[in-house]
């Protein structure tokens, strides 16, 4: 589709029009094409996960269960969570934007292991196909957390096959992380020292670390669950001699760091957006860079804060609470530095900056409400209520997805060679912001009132908040559909752009849009730090033009 649009145009050979057969796409070793393959796959899963969210929000408009059965509802919220987390959020920024940008930003031809990169996509697609099979053959009703003994013994849904699907998909994550780490270590252009790297790279390095170290644990966990379910080996069910809380430890040992897999790349994107849209060096570059690593490291030590009500020992709870506050600090440091970067900048109001601003506001709320949940005595009341639901949607949608969309708009001209319609970009960003807040803000209030998660029917006093939330969700849905339409439209009718439409500083903007297959026709040599806008040729040219106009 994209390549067709490119074919009609004059101009040089690029990665899109170099070859146009289906085979050339399915067997490509080009990191940019693999990024686009992921884009198609995860866009499909985002739409699917969104459909399940729609079912959930529709059912909850009224207190009694009416639209669907309880079995159906439980499957809907489970599939929403599983698809959005394992098949959209985890691969989203790393696999699409990371794959596309990392070699370009490093001034290299490709990732370290191009074949492994293609294999990661196939592994992902095999896992995804199994999840589709799970869905068609009845879905699962355990919640995305798969807590036993419900999931291992009692549930009549397709838990085993879903577990195998997640096991397989995890390898895609591990291989991608491994590839990124080796690429960042070994493939940097001459002169590109660690402290000359864009913050997007630092964030992806931290993410890759978690992917490689954390993902094997979820693989072991779901495998153990599948063994208990199929072979009756007692691991988690006390009736078989197991311990259900053991599962929670193992599950969250991965799944808490996994939320950093989802948010860290988004933080990397926001660093790029803010620096380039304000034409300013990121305030406190080293602090922002190291805070990513701090989050990755501390992120592994906080899993127990998901189990404050499980009657774990009081001292265990206290230690996990303390470390959870430690992990809040690097996130706060980032927020402050980004805000300070805007100060005395040259601020553009284009769509990517609108998204960056939305991220600042929403992620601050998401992060601050995390402080409520890490507080031991307060979490007892808030645990497993809609307060938790609201908190993680503020982080995952308000943080991760907003960052993903901002990044997609920012690099869209680089990926396709055409600009999206700016006015529609801004309108949809504002609609998403409004719809998002209307959907999830009422859930904080409802959660404190005691509305539990995963309820098919509820007591009538919560209805007002559910109606607000469902109304917001329909606005949010409009906001998410709009980019699909105008981005597709721009493939054919979008304005053609040169190498650097944003007058941005990154290495990826110094090669044509779309880039040639080999990325650079010359070997870039880096002589200065990132975000030094004085070196950007387009800015120099624009200045000259302005001077002539003045004269």
């Amino acid at each position: 589709m994209a390549s067709e649009a490119m074919n009609k145009t004059e101009g040089s050979v690029n990665y899109l029009n170099a070859a146009t057969t289906v085979k050339s796409w399915l067997l490509t070793l080009d990191h940019k094409r693999i990024g686009l393959l992921y884009l198609f796959a995860i866009s499909f899963f985002f739409a699917l996960g969104g459909m399940f969210a729609t079912l959930v929000r529709l059912e909850l408009v009224t207190p009694q269960g009416d639209l669907m059965s309880a079995e159906m509802y439980n499957r809907a919220f489970t599939m929403h969570g599983v698809i959005m987390i394992f098949f959209f959020l985890i691969p989203s920024i790393p696999a699409v934007l990371g794959n596309f940008c990392i070699p370009l930003m490093l001034g290299t031809k490709d990732v370290a292991f191009p074949r492994l990169n293609l294999m990661s996509w196939y592994v992902f697609m095999i896992g995804a196909s199994l999840m589709m099979y799970t869905l068609i053959s009845g879905g699962i009703d355990t919640g995305w957390t798969f807590y036993p003994p419900y999931s291992s013994i009692y549930s009549n849904s397709q838990v085993t096959i879903a577990g195998v699907s997640i096991f397989i998909t995890g390898f895609s994550s591990i291989l991608t992380g491994l590839n990124f780490m080796v690429t960042i270590h070994t493939m940097r252009a001459p002169g590109l020292t660690w402290f000359r790297l864009p913050l997007f790279i630092w964030a992806h390095y931290a993410t890759a670390l978690i992917m490689v170290l954390g993902t094997p644990v979820i693989a072991i966990t779901v495998l153990a669950l599948a063994f208990e379910r199929t072979l009756q080996i007692g691991i988690f069910d006390p009736k078989l001699g197991g311990d259900p809380v053991l599962f929670q430890h193992m599950f969250w040992f991965y799944s808490h760091p996994a939320v950093y897999i989802m948010i860290l790349p988004s933080m990397g994107v926001v660093s790029e957006l803010i620096a380039n849209m304000t034409r300013k060096r990121i305030f406190g570059y080293a602090f922002v860079a190291f805070s990513s690593l701090a989050i990755a490291v501390f992120g592994f030590l906080v899993w127990g804060h998901h189990m404050f009500t499980t009657s774990q020992s009081m001292y265990t709870g206290a230690v996990f609470s303390l470390i959870s506050y430690a992990v809040a600090i690097p996130s706060a440091i980032k927020i402050f530095n980004w805000t300070a970067t805007i100060y005395k900048g040259s601020v553009s109001f284009d769509t990517p900056m609108i998204y960056a601003l939305a991220f600042l506001g929403l992620f601050t709320i998401g992060g601050m409400t995390g402080l409520f949940l890490a507080a031991l005595g307060l979490d007892i009341h808030l645990h497993d209520t809609y307060f938790v639901v609201a908190h993680f949607h503020y982080v995952m949608v308000g943080g991760a997805i907003i960052g993903y969309l901002g990044g997609l708009h920012y690099w869209w001209p680089k990926m396709t060679g055409r600009m999206y319609p700016e006015i529609w970009g801004r309108v949809s960003a504002v609609i998403i912001f409004i719809g998002f807040n209307l959907t999830f803000f009422p859930q904080f209030v409802m959660g404190y009132l005691g509305m539990p998660r995963r309820y098919y029917a509820y007591v009538p006093e919560f209805q007002v908040y559910h109606i607000l939330s469902s109304a917001g969700a329909s606005i949010l849905a409009i906001g998410f559909v709009m980019p699909v339409i105008y981005l597709a439209y721009s493939l054919k009718y979008g304005e053609r752009v040169g190498a650097n439409p944003w007058m941005a500083s990154g290495l990826e903007w110094q090669t044509p849009s779309p880039p040639p297959t080999e990325n650079f026709t010359y070997q870039p040599v880096i002589t200065h730090e990132p975000y030094e806008f004085e070196h950007v040729e387009e800015i120099k040219a624009a200045r000259k033009a302005e001077e002539i106009q003045m004269a």
Partner: protein
């Protein structure tokens, strides 16, 4: 308070109906204010900077600022100190919730897909409801017969996971009469959202009247004694040492030395494990020849046996509860409630602050 009166109101905060509610709410207000201050400050700063420093010409490059060490230190240290304060407050509240009160009304809760069963110390049972006296400390000891559940009472600001295979506890003092929601907060399958009920807090006199009218079985300790002989436990666990198993009188609450030299505190969890998996923590000096009772007794029966073992508690003079005389015959089920209260007040789970 009638729960149907909620219907056309829009509540913002849940009712404060326990000793914890006020402080939890205060903590919540504090954190909310902190969130508002930080979010507004960040959003305002970002918006003002965006407008004030908007791009005025296409070729513009602003003056670059590297960073400022003093600012970095300030916005690392200040949030750190604030979070440490939040941590300390949260930990203090948790400590209060975690520490069992000494004297309390002990109620046994069993979760089961998809209902809550409660048993009062005098043997009254109820399903999906829990009647409580105003102003009395209440301790819930809970377990599940199948999957994970969580016993959540938003008006009390308490919630505890109910886990199969172990006992969890929770305590509170109801401070306001009324009817409050009871929710299962841990997803437990198809009818999870139907596993709800009512907590009814009553004046002490009303509660006493309710106790008299409620369907009543034998007290857990009495029922446990029947099971103890019915399952032939007493053939090995004699009244004094010398049986194939340890004598159980006075054992509860002591430290038991084990075969491997370590010691374990004899609490509900240890007794439960020793009934269901006798070899797991073998008392020093005894053979591993007790059969398991796994599958032969329900969770509620295990709890009854434990209640009985607790009731034959300390026999040494001075350590015993006033008037305790565990070997007296249990009252007949038809005995007037006053007698029943006295008997359990001295012998069974309930301790001396039971209203007379």
């Amino acid at each position: 308070m009638n729960s149907s009166s909620f219907l056309f109101q829009v509540p913002i905060m849940p009712e404060q109906a326990s000793n914890f509610a006020f402080e939890v709410d205060l903590f919540y207000y504090f954190l909310t204010a902190l969130t508002v201050v930080f979010t507004v400050a960040i959003a305002l700063a970002a918006l003002v900077f965006m407008i004030k420093y908007r791009r005025r010409s296409n070729g513009e490059v602003p003056e670059q600022i590297e960073g400022a060490m003093k600012l970095e230190i300030a916005w690392t240290v200040i949030p750190f100190l604030i979070t440490m304060f939040i941590f300390a407050w949260g930990a203090k509240l948790y400590y209060q919730m975690y520490t069992d009160p000494k004297e309390s009304l002990e109620i046994f809760i069993t979760g089961k897909q998809w209902m809550w069963r409660a048993q009062h110390p005098d043997g009254q049972r109820e399903i999906n409801e829990l009647h409580l006296p105003l102003g009395r400390r209440v301790k819930l000891t809970m377990t599940s017969e199948d999957v994970l559940h969580a016993y959540s009472i938003p008006a009390f600001r308490t919630k505890t996971d109910v886990v199969p295979g172990r006992y969890t506890t929770s305590w509170f003092t109801p401070t306001k009469t009324g009817t409050y929601h009871l929710f299962c907060a841990e997803y437990c399958g198809t009818q999870h959202s139907g596993m709800i009920g009512k907590i009814v807090v009553m004046e002490v006199a009303d509660y006493q009247a309710w106790l008299r009218g409620a369907p009543r079985d034998a007290t857990p300790a009495e029922a446990g004694q029947k099971l103890f002989t019915g399952l032939a436990c007493n053939n090995c666990h004699l009244e004094s040492d010398g049986g194939r198993g340890p004598a159980l009188a006075g054992l509860f609450g002591t430290d038991q030395r084990l075969q491997d030299g370590s010691t374990v505190k004899v609490d509900e969890t240890y007794l439960r494990e020793s009934i269901l998996n006798p070899g797991a923590k073998l008392a020093a000096g005894y053979q591993d020849d007790m059969p398991t009772f796994q599958g032969l007794v329900t969770e509620e029966q295990v709890a009854m046996i434990i209640a009985y073992i607790k009731s034959i508690g300390p026999r040494q003079p001075g350590r015993s509860a006033p008037g305790a005389n565990p070997v007296t015959a249990p009252p007949s089920p038809a005995a007037p409630p006053q007698t029943a209260t006295q008997t359990t007040g001295s012998g069974a789970a309930t301790k001396s602050n039971q209203p007379k």
